[in-house]
């Protein structure tokens, strides 16, 4: 999901505080598809991605577009407002109880040599890897992808060569949101969730993106790995409740010394 955030931020320099809440909506969508239609989350993530793509485009067109030139602070506040609306709509609609999507895969485990592997996690990881790769290919090998990167690099320049920057923004925001939707559906069998999860998910993905580097896909991926390793080590060597301390400390250090992140190209 950090990949989605980095796309949105990298291209438009818009800070999406509603990220985690969009993800929670993706999760609940997966839950509904699983209980009402009987669709496994490992299939329905495509649907969730499509739905969130729509939401992303609407948000971009209806809200973000209007203040795209405003200072960062206003965008942060806007997205914060949106986050509050999304999170509490979920609370009203689905109630506060933590839930989890059942998938036949989540019960299955696998022995690979001496390693004991949870099949659900393995599949999630594999799909996430494929999605990241796909996104990478899309950004670097297709016309629209190149345009998205061009607008990120130099909005004015992109306009000069005749690119419809607003449409590109909408596409980028939509694709970013779609990644989040897919990610939400994919982790829904692993991670129990409830509406307030959105906030911690947002914060976690900001961590990942900042640590890895804003606007860099590779950075988002490596940042995600780094944060989870740091948290797991923290949980092993200290108390599990202290694990977040590590990612936040890491975040502070990176913010101070490499604000562009480990793989970021420039400081802003």
């Amino acid at each position: 999901m950090a990949v989605g955030l980095t796309l949105i931020f990298g291209v438009m320099r818009v800070v999406n505080f509603a990220h985690g809440d969009m993800m929670v909506w993706g999760m609940y969508l997966a839950l509904m598809l699983s209980t009402r239609v009987g669709l496994d989350p490992y299939v329905s993530f495509v649907v969730c991605a499509a739905a969130l793509f729509g939401l992303g485009v609407v948000v971009q067109r209806g809200l973000v577009d209007r203040i795209i030139d405003a200072p960062h602070e206003m965008q942060i506040l806007l997205m914060l407002g949106l986050a509050l609306v999304l999170e509490n709509l979920a609370l009203v609609a689905f109630g506060p109880e933590p839930v989890r999507v059942r998938s036949p895969l989540s019960a299955a485990t696998l022995w690979i040599g001496p390693l004991y592997v949870d099949v659900a996690r393995l599949v999630t990881f594999a799909v996430a890897l494929v999605l990241t790769l796909g996104l990478y290919l899309f950004l670097f090998r297709t016309e629209l992808g190149r345009l998205i990167r061009a607008s990120a690099d130099n909005t004015y320049g992109a306009q000069v060569i005749g690119a419809d920057v607003r449409r590109i923004y909408a596409a980028a925001f939509g694709i970013g949101a779609a990644c989040v939707g897919a990610a939400g559906a994919l982790v829904s069998p692993i991670l129990p969730f409830q509406p307030p999860s959105g906030l911690s998910l947002s914060v976690a993905s900001f961590n990942i993106v900042i640590i890895g580097g804003m606007g860099s896909l590779l950075g988002a991926f490596v940042g995600g790995l780094l944060v989870s390793v740091a948290e797991s080590l923290g949980a092993v060597f200290l108390k599990p409740s202290l694990k977040e301390l590590f990612s936040f400390s890491l975040l502070i250090v990176i913010l101070l010394f490499r604000p562009a992140g480990l793989f970021g190209k420039r400081a802003s």
Partner: protein, 318 residues
Amino acid sequence: MKWLALAGLAVLLVLPAALSSYATTIFILIFFYGFLGQAWNVVGGYAGQLSAGHAAFVGIGGYTAALLSNELGLTPWLGMFVGAALATVLGALVGYLGFRFGLRGFYFVLLTVAFAEVCRILVSNIDAVGGALGLYITFTGNPRQFQFQDPRAYYYLALGFMLLATGVAAVIERRRFGMYLSAIREDETACEALGVNTFKYKMLAMLVSSFLTGLGGTFYAFYLFSLQPATVFGIPLSVEIVIRPVIGGAGTLVGPILGSFILTPLAEVSRYYFGQSGLHGAHLIVYGALLVTVVLFLPQGAYPFLRRLFAGQSRSAP
């Protein structure tokens, strides 16, 4: 304007005689959040350094005063200042790191969030200060212990706090210091180019703001008689602190107060009604929608808008 403020103050001073206890509670919250908003306003509004971690200062102030009172029997009237001093230390740390390393905009926001979260996690893991369960204060009703039988005492206390912060903000606004802060908000680079020591002024604003917010922590602790790390250090409280001045008009004297008068009753009443019908959290939808609306249509907040409306002149927004 001055007369209007004085008249309003006079009404507020005699008002408790006519209020029900529920209405008194709402007014206490209006004043308290108005106070916190005004304290935030010094650094977030005037200087434009959007801090989203102000809850940490509330938490440190409240925890310090409560611990000193519980463990050492020190009266919160003094503990309040110890707490505020410690909050200022954290403010100095965050400010020093953030401003020295030149973090702006979004990066500064994240830094403040990260520090508040670190505080929250630490406090909830230190059993000596109550751990995740938090701290409880036994009610004695003794005014020396910052506790009162009569809610009206809290009413006047909260009003006093709000006036104090507003007074501080007013003094800052009138002085050169306030000018520098607005200049930093509008164009920091130009400010530096003109030879203003932006670091120093941002730092000062942060210190004042964290000190005031830390004082508020004591009020919080001894009004509610309990402190939980998730609530006093959490992001939601930081959001509550930020949202009022923004909606009322950040960087204006009236903004935080107006914002609190708009938002607090709305929040409390809708929390009450939606809560009755089982729709918890619905009041936050109202918050969010209001925030989105304000950002889109009144980016400077309600107060500048109202002022223009009453002045009857159509000044174009800067």
